[in-house]
Point group: C2
Amino acid sequence: MEPISLQTALASFTEQWSPRIVTTVNDYDVRVAKVEGEHLWHVHEDTDEFFLVLAGELHIALREAAGERTMVLPKGSVFTVPRGTEHKPYAHVLTEILVFEPTGTLSVGDRHDEVPDHVDATTGHALT
Amino acid sequence: MEPISLQTALASFTEQWSPRIVTTVNDYDVRVAKVEGEHLWHVHEDTDEFFLVLAGELHIALREAAGERTMVLPKGSVFTVPRGTEHKPYAHVLTEILVFEPTGTLSVGDRHDEVPDHVDATTGHALT
């Protein structure tokens, strides 16, 4: 095992909404992704999901008991979506994110809207 | 829950080798710390430990079966110290790091050298 540059990892692929696994921590993945435009409404019933914005700006729309609201995450900010909360990430500009979640977590969750062509339904790809 | 700026979190304290918990992900903590100088040799027998360098440059000396070696992590790089591997982080310049590890993980591990005065033996402090 050697240190990994996130910049190098992000430069190694161009696909959007298609996370790459940069390392693992016990039974968790550290994934990075490039995103722009809309993901889809989905929910992870059994796990929280952590986001760190490395570049750009990520929006995360949430459906909570009190109604719908949107988190805005500029570069350098973090947010954990609680398990069981429907959410939809989106970005107006090309945005780079780091995500922590249990290995095997599907990018579109356990329940979700129809998956559009531009979104990769995956448990994360290896870096190549 | 609202997004948290890592820059704001890091600006809220000055203590070194004294991690702050910025958010949790299931039963894991996301912690940030300011470090400079030497930590101490220690080992986490039961957990991996993930490091992301936010500013500065972190060195992590490792004692492996094949001998001792040092990982150098510039800003923007990541490394996971495997469970059971003795390690000693140090930094020649003021360095800011993000760590991901199970809630309750002690900063000095399960086995360690004598804890020097400048190192905080903690499971992480709340942000204030």
